[in-house]
Amino acid sequence: MPSPIRILTAVPICDGHDSAINTINLEFIRHGIEVIYLGYHRSVGDIVRAAIQEDVGAIGISSYNGGHVEFFAEVVDLLRKHGADDIKVFGGGGGTITHDDVTAMRRKGVDQIFFAGTALSEMAGYVREHYGRPRKKRSPSKLRDIALARELTEVEDSYASRKRSTSNAQRPTSKGKIRNPQSAIRDPRVIGLTGPGGAGKTTLIDELVLRYLSSEGKGRIAILSHDPSVIGEGALLGDRATMINSQDDRVFMRSMATRGQAGGLSPATHDCLALLAQSDFDYVIIETVGTGQEAMPFQKNGIVDLTVLVMNPDYGSRLQLQKIVMLDLADIVVVNKSDLQRARTAHTEIEQRLEQNRRAQRLIDTVAKRHRDPGVDRLFDLISGKSVAAVYDRRNKKIRRS
């Protein structure tokens, strides 16, 4: 079975018309396409960066607020500039894009525009037909993100074509893929975040990224995020849309669908992680799908240096806690959403549960959705060994945290 088609969709800057693209995303997914959705009000730079990192077959842009001829062309140009013009650009904008516009856009390198009134299935059919074929052998790129992104694609594709079963995730990482044995590659810290659905993992990672970017003047960070999908079916990979701080040249992010594997990761995850771990990043953060925590999603003695379990205070009764294996294994347990009423009880119950383990585990309360949350600061300090509070103080003495 070939790899599912991956495309990126987005709405241009200063444009919030997302109704059409939401519908189109759903339709694409129904047709077995993996859609990485970047959201609305997105700049050319953000779109191209994401498309390159995700190594998608094409970018679908939905534009309504005018200026589409220029915007689409800028996306095409920037792709070209980076040597990533095997990524095609297509889209629509209802009646706002006229036939004359389309002629101009085609001339500037836009692949296809769908007019108002085009049937949804027709568009999905077009994408399957034109962006689904495996891409020809691509010339090696000098841009490191492109090279890395393509290698990640090869890993993912190899799993899809070999039809490996889920157990393959446990096999050792493939060494053959490791690129560029350059001398001074730093050894990134690999941090694995897992936890139940909706506990706040993505929000937390994005807040950690913000702290990393503002406390370190240079260096890069990689994120591997997962969303569930069934073999041969599509998926909506939507984390990028909400991760406002991670749209940055210093962040390399890759979204993966689990493609039928249980346990919160994709069959290709460990190999991809190995690749990232051998690249030039300070940190590699991996987020699992939100699932039950009966088992440890990360390989024992694997590449993950630090495991973080993110809990939602609403886990139910104390009895539920006994079943959570991850509570035994995680290095750090985070009770997120500690703004919720149940958080204090949750903290106490989890603390008692951790005491049984007699291990040096840390328990931290956070409110990831709160700006400059001190709990997230503590988590960052713990992970980085730095004090983010000191950074704030230096940057702006006036900003106090309450």
């Binding site: 997302d18 109704s19 607020n65 909400t242």
Partner: protein
């Protein structure tokens, strides 16, 4: 002007505010159900209790006999108020309490007594109370209070055209052109993309968007230019500003600009509306710039200020339009809009603003499409709002009114054989007036393509005039079409469905919790997807698209008014000058603003100072440093 920040009592932190709040919906559901039960009880009582029955009948006859008679152009005499032909006390009670006469609680038939009726020319004290004992015409020969008639709310002139283009001076010129021959000046302002998103014209990647689709406003100086030549304090002037995410900053700029031109005394005289509806931004329109709770706090700061200092201003327009256009069902639209409204009421009340002060300053904005629900959507909304405000919030008469602006559906207008859009809009207008909307905007037939052109705008405006002025449908008789069995059936079904939505939101912990859970967004998205699927599988006939398609590509002449680069550059240069001139002062003003926000105080008066020396982007940026940026939801 000195502003006292704590007048309405101590401020609670947003989190405190959150915990106990925004969950009065359950009470609203109960109140409506209780009210419905009350109506049934009154029906029974009118039948069982002879005294009460007589009272009801007397009132009925009195109303009928007081009803004035009008003569149509053909000479046909008609009552100015049509009432159901019932004479049984129970049924009369059901009508009087359940629906209410126009202008009477629970306002099903309208918030005013004579919505679109022509002013009376020839008056006959009459009796249409055929079967009335009130036939003793003597007592009905009333003197007509002339003043009362003049005071009737007039239908909105269809001249409040949404406009905004290029730079402030260009929009200003357009405003003057539009209002050249008008006694009252009602301006409706559209902002460009960067302004709507709270960013400056000199921000990265937005140069090409400056002045596109609306006017570029960066500073108070732009705001002065925008309304130059208009008398902002005049009772004949009102400004409406369609902006929500950065609304408090833009509002502050408007006030500051008015003060620069007319001095501080102008503030209480300012009239107009600012959209400022944050919930619907998060749910549907996607122009939120601060985290939801922080946005709500800034909104409340502004509302606290305007209700106190600007009694003629409408500081929020609670909008279902965008929800409907994003693809919701009509019931979802009404349910989310009303629940948003109740959540705001709760928030403002929690801040200590008296309900009878802010209540009358709330206004609503709904969509009207072609689905059958629209025949009664606003009617039912008006009733639920009145009951909820009276019985849950203890609002007095003026604060119970659901004052409504309607716009016909833009989404129902399509590119294929676009001239059919005229008919669609006409049908929607008809539905909107059957709901007794207070004012209405009709979309132009070229809506799918671009900013409407003069030709189609004129046709759209004339559609309204034809219905209201030329045709006899709405000008002779109130209630001409209300109360038909079909309409009643729709009303009942819609009310039930809205209450069901309320219960669901209540279960999720109230409006704010539901919003943060993406509840409304995901409901709207699935409805939108279903709608599009229905078009392409043919179960939703769209003429010219999936039925009776002739294949010809009839497209209006699309004249794009692009903002010339020179103008965009001018805006950037002006902004640079402003920033340079005020650099020192801006720093201090921003620090002070940040401080006030950190302390959790009402920041609106500090905002008023800040806009004197800071740009929109500087202020929004600094506020984001303090409260964070909005994290978009998929």
């Amino acid at each position: 002007m000195t502003v006292e920040t704590k007048k309405y009592g101590a401020h609670r932190s947003p989190l405190q505010e959150r915990s106990g709040l925004m969950n009065k919906l359950g009470q609203v559901v109960e109140a409506v159900e209780k009210y419905n039960q009350f109506v049934l009880d009154e029906v029974k009582r009118a039948r069982a209790d002879e005294g009460f029955g007589r009272e009801v009948i007397d009132r009925w006859h009195e109303t009928k006999s007081k009803t004035l008679v009008t003569h149509t152009p053909t000479g046909l005499p008609l009552p100015r108020l049509a009432l159901p032909e019932i004479d049984e006390p129970g049924e009369i009670a059901r009508y009087l309490f359940g629906d209410g006469l126009p202008g009477e609680f629970p306002f099903l038939n309208g918030v005013y007594r004579e919505m679109y009726l022509e002013p009376i020319r020839e008056i006959e004290a009459g009796s249409f109370g055929k079967n009335g004992e009130g036939g003793n015409a003597e007592s009905k020969k009333r003197k007509i209070d002339k003043k009362k008639i003049d005071n009737q709310p007039k239908a909105e002139e269809p001249t409040r055209l949404f406009s905004g283009l290029m730079l402030a001076e260009d929009t200003n010129e357009r405003f003057h052109y539009l209002t050249a021959h008008q006694r009252t000046h009602r301006l409706s302002t559209a902002f460009d993309g960067p302004t709507l998103y709270g960013i400056d014209s000199d921000a990265d990647g937005v140069f090409g968007k400056i002045g596109e689709g609306g006017v570029a406003i960066d500073t108070v100086e732009d705001m002065v230019r925008l309304y130059d030549g208009f008398d902002l304090g005049s009772p004949d002037f009102s400004a409406s500003m369609t902006i929500s995410g950065p609304a408090p900053i833009i509002m502050a700029m408007y006030i500051a600009a008015a003060k620069r031109r007319f001095g501080p005394k102008v503030v209480p005289k300012l009239r107009g509306t600012i959209q400022a509806d944050i919930f619907k931004e998060v749910q549907a329109q996607n122009e939120t710039i601060f985290p939801t709770e922080a946005s709500l706090r800034f909104l409340t700061d502004m509302v606290e200020f305007t209700t106190r200092e600007m009694p003629r201003w409408y500081p929020i327009s609670i909008s279902g339009y965008h929800i409907g256009e994003a693809g919701s069902t009509p019931v979802q639209q009404a349910a989310y809009t009303l629940s948003n409204g109740f959540a705001y009421a709760e928030m403002f009340a929690a801040r200590g603003i008296p309900v009878d002060q802010f209540g009358p300053r709330l206004s609503f904005f709904l969509d009207c499409g072609l689905d059958i629900e629209y025949i009664a959507l606003a009617r039912v909304s008006r009733r639920i709002w009145a009951i909820g405000m009276r019985d849950v919030f203890g609002a007095g008469a003026r604060a119970q009114l659901f004052k409504l602006h309607t716009q016909t559906s833009g989404r129902s207008l399509i590119a294929a054989e676009f001239k059919n859009n005229l008919t669609r809009t006409a049908a929607e207008l008809m539905l909107a007036y059957m709901n007794a909307t207070n004012s209405c905007h009709s979309n132009s037939a070229d809506e799918p393509f671009t900013t409407p052109s003069e030709e189609w705008i004129r046709l759209a405006a004339h559609g309204q005039a034809i219905l209201l002025e030329e045709s006899g449908i709405f000008k002779h008789t109130m209630n001409l079409l209300s109360g038909s069995p079909g309409m009643k059936a729709v009303e009942r079904a819609v009310e039930k469905a809205i209450l069901e939505e309320f219960r669901e939101i209540e279960r999720l912990g109230g409006v704010l919790a539901a919003v943060e859970d993406r509840f409304q967004r995901s409901q709207i998205q699935s409805a939108a997807h279903r709608y599009e699927q229905q078009i392409y599988d043919g179960t939703r006939p769209i003429i010219g698209l999936n039925r009776y398609r002739n294949g010809s590509d009839d497209i209006p002449e699309v004249k794009l008014t692009r903002t010339p680069r020179a103008k965009q550059k001018l805006q950037v240069d002006r902004l640079a000058k402003f920033k340079k001139k005020n650099a020192e002062k801006a720093k201090r003003a921003l620090d002070k603003l940040a401080d006030v926000v950190e302390r959790g105080e009402n920041c609106f008066s500090t905002l008023l100072e800040a806009v004197e020396v800071c740009s929109l982007g500087q202020i929004a940026g600094r506020l984001q440093e303090v409260v964070g940026r909005f994290r978009p939801m998929v």
